[in-house]
Symmetry: C2
Subunit: 375 residues, 2 copies
C-alpha cells in the first residue's frame, strides 16, 4: 500500500501501533506496519533495555517511541519530590479510595492508598528519555499529550526524525502545526485513554480542513480503529493512515492483566466510559465500579495530573492482582484504558495476525467502494 505516511516512514501498511509492550512493537513493525513504544512510564534505564531489545528483533525495520510530556500538571517546574507530590493529595480523596476498596472487601487505610507514581511526567525526565531514544535508530517521536515541549521538537528536528503529536480538536491541531510538528494524530472521542469529545468521523475532515491554510502535514486517524475496514474509512476521510492502540491489548504479546483481557473480549462498545477517575483528565476505559464511583453524585472531583494517578495507579495495580486470583470485589473494580472498538475485539490473536487481517479487510473495503461505482 502507498499513502503519504508509507513513504514518510518507509512502511508497507499505513498502520501505526502504540503499545507499552516491546513485543507488540516488534511484531507490528515486522509485519509491515509501524510499532511505537509507549515510554512514558519507563525509567531511562528501562527504556534503554527495551529499545535495545527491539533493535535486536526488527532487523533494521522502522519503529518509533512515544514520550509523553504534558503541557500542564500540578507541580510542573517546581521539581517536587515524590514525597512532596504525595503530600498534595487531600485527605478526603485518600479516604474516598480507602472506603471504595473496603466496600469491595479490599483492606485499605487512607494512609496506604497513595504511592509515588507519575514521576516520569516532568520536562527533566522527558529530556533524559529522549537522550536514550535518540541513541537508537527510531524513525518517529510521538507526544501523546498537548504540544510537545520546544526542546523535544528542536532535538527531533536536529536528529532528522519526524515528530508526531496527538490532538482531539481542530483548535489543538492548529496550535500543533504552528509549533512545528510533522505528523498529526487526530484522535476521536471513541479512543482509549485521553480523548476529547469529537468523534473520529467528524474530527479527521475537520482537522484536515483547519490546518490546510497553515501547513499540510499527514494526519493519522485514531479512535475506535481496530479493523481494516475502519482503516479504509480513515483513508476515505483523508487520513494518511491509522494510529491504533486498543486492538493490541488483547494480543498474547501484550502485558494486559489476564482478567482485563477477558473483560475486553466480552465487552461491547457501550462498556467503556470517558472518566477522570484514573489520571484526572478524561480518559476512556472499561466501565467498572471504579469509574462509576468517581462519577457518582457526592464523590470528590478528580485531582489534577499527576495527583490522581498517585491514588489510582497503586490501587488499580493491586486490584488487577486480586482480580486475577478470583477476588470478586476486585473484578468489579478492575478497569483499563480501551476505546469503543473493544466491541469489535472478540478473539485474542497474535499481533502479526492482527496486522495481516487488517490489511486484508482494508483491501475488501476498497473493493466494496470500487464496486459501488460499477454500473
Amino acid at each position: 500500500m502507498k499513502t503519504p505516511i508509507c513513504d514518510m516512514l518507509g512502511i508497507d501498511i499505513p498502520l501505526l501501533a502504540f503499545s507499552h509492550c516491546r513485543d507488540v512493537v516488534a511484531a507490528v513493525t515486522n509485519a509491515g506496519g509501524f510499532g511505537v513504544l509507549g515510554a512514558s512510564s519507563h525509567t531511562p534505564e528501562q527504556l534503554e533495555e527495551e529499545l535495545a531489545w527491539i533493535d535486536d528483533h526488527v532487523g533494521g525495520k522502522p519503529y518509533g517511541a512515544d514520550i509523553v510530556v504534558p503541557e500542564k500538571f500540578a507541580g510542573k517546574g517546581q521539581k517536587l519530590t515524590p514525597e512532596q507530590l504525595q503530600g498534595m493529595v487531600p485527605e478526603a480523596h485518600r479516604r474516598f479510595v480507602a472506603d471504595l476498596l473496603m466496600k469491595h472487601g479490599i483492606e485499605a487505610s487512607p494512609e496506604n492508598v497513595v504511592e509515588a507514581f507519575g514521576s516520569g511526567m516532568t520536562d527533566d525526565i522527558g529530556d533524559r528519555l529522549l537522550d536514550v531514544a535518540l541513541r537508537h535508530p527510531i524513525e518517529l517521536i510521538a507526544n501523546a499529550l498537548g504540544v510537545p515541549p520546544t526542546f523535544m521538537i528542536d532535538r527531533a528536528k536536529a536528529a532528522g526524525i519526524p515528530i508526531a503529536a496527538l490532538v482531539g480538536a481542530k483548535e489543538h491541531a492548529i496550535k500543533q502545526v504552528r509549533a512545528g510538528v510533522d505528523i498529526l494524530i487526530a484522535q476521536g472521542t471513541e479512543a482509549g485513554g485521553h480523548c476529547g469529545e469529537v468523534t473520529t468521523m467528524v474530527l479527521i475532515p475537520e482537522v484536515i480542513e483547519a490546518i490546510e491554510p497553515i501547513r499540510r502535514v499527514p494526519v493519522l486517524a485514531a479512535g475506535g480503529i481496530v479493523t481494516g475496514r475502519q482503516m479504509a474509512a480513515a483513508v476515505a476521510l483523508g487520513a494518511a493512515g491509522a494510529w491504533t492502540g486498543s486492538v493490541w491489548l488483547t494480543t498474547p504479546e501484550a502485558e494486559t492483566a489476564p482478567h482485563t483481557v477477558r473483560k475486553m473480549l466480552h465487552a461491547s462498545s457501550r462498556d467503556t466510559v470517558r472518566s477522570t477517575g484514573r489520571t484526572g483528565k478524561p480518559s476512556r476505559q472499561l466501565r467498572s465500579n471504579w469509574t462509576e464511583a468517581w462519577a457518582a453524585d457526592g464523590s470528590p472531583e478528580a485531582l489534577p495530573m499527576p495527583l490522581q494517578s498517585l491514588i489510582s495507579e497503586p490501587s488499580l495495580r493491586r486490584i488487577d492482582k486480586l482480580a486475577e486470583n478470583g477476588d470478586e470485589g476486585a473484578q468489579a473494580l478492575a478497569t483499563y484504558w480501551v476505546g469503543q472498538g473493544v466491541g469489535l475485539m472478540n478473539t485474542a490473536r497474535p499481533a502479526r495476525d492482527v496486522v495481516l487481517t487488517m490489511a486484508e479487510d482494508y483491501l475488501d473495503a476498497v473493493q466494496r467502494l470500487t464496486d459501488s461505482l460499477a454500473d
Copy 2:
C-alpha cells in the same frame, strides 16, 4: 453509483436525507438521492398537504416518510388530553423555565411556560399519519425512535413498502431485525437529535456483525455525515449508504430559524452537546444557555417524554423569534438539533448543490483509496 440501497430504493446516490421541509425532500430526490419527510409534528391534514406537494414536484422519483412513534412515553396508552398532559408538568419545572427566561430578560411566569405539544406522539395519531402516507407513492417508511409498533410494520409489509428503523446500539439492532424491519439506520453519538453513546466509526461494523447471524439487512450509516468523503467512509465500514439530517438545516430550502442557521455556520464540532433539556431523552443540539442550564448542578432532572417538550418547545419557539429580532438573551438561549458535523457546515448552499458536491467528494475518496493500493 450502486449499493444495495440504490437497488432497493431505485436511487442513483446512496444518500438519504431526513428533513421536516418538503422542499429539501423534493430537492434531494430530484438530485438522485432519497428525501424522507419527517412527519412527526404534522397533523394528518398537514401531512396530506405536504405529500401532495412533494408528489407534484418529484415527477415520480422515490421518497419516503418518517413517522415517529416512541416505544415508551408518559401517558402512553392512557389517551390523555393535552390538558391532562400539561397537568403532569411539576411546578418546580415550570418555575425553573420561567426563571431561566427571566434571567435572560424574557418575560415569563410559571403558568404560561407550558403549552400543548407532542400530541403527535401516540399510537392513534401514528396510525392516522400512516393512513395518509400510504395514500401517496412513498417508497420507505422510517421510524426514528425505538422498535416500530407492530401495526406499523404490518401495514408497511402489506403495502410492500420497506420499513426502516433507527438504532444507536447493537442490542437495539438485534431487536429491530427480529421485529422485522427491512433497513437499519445505525446512528452514532455524533448525530443531531436523539442519539446513543457509540460513535459511527465503531457502531456500523458492530451492528453489521451483530445482525449477521439473524438476518442480513442493509445498514445505513448516520451520525456526523455531511460530506461525500464521510459517505465513502460509511461504505468502507460496510454500510449500504448514508442517512443524513444536519447538513440540510443550513440550506435555503430548510425552515431553520435564520439566527440558528448563522450559529450553525459558525459552530465547530465542539459546539454541540448531548442534552436531555429538549425532549427528556439525550439529544444532540447546539450548546447554548438552555442546554447549559439543564446540565447545571442543582437544576431539575428533565421530564420523561413528551412532558419535557411541553415546557421546552413553546419557550424555544418564542426564543427563536426574539433571537431573530436581535434579543441578546434569546440569542444566548437559542438552540436546535444538529450533529457534530456542524463543524464542517460552513457555507449555506442549495440542497441540490449539497447532493452533487457530496457525490463528487465521494468519487474523490474512492480514488484516494484506489491510489493507496498503487505501487
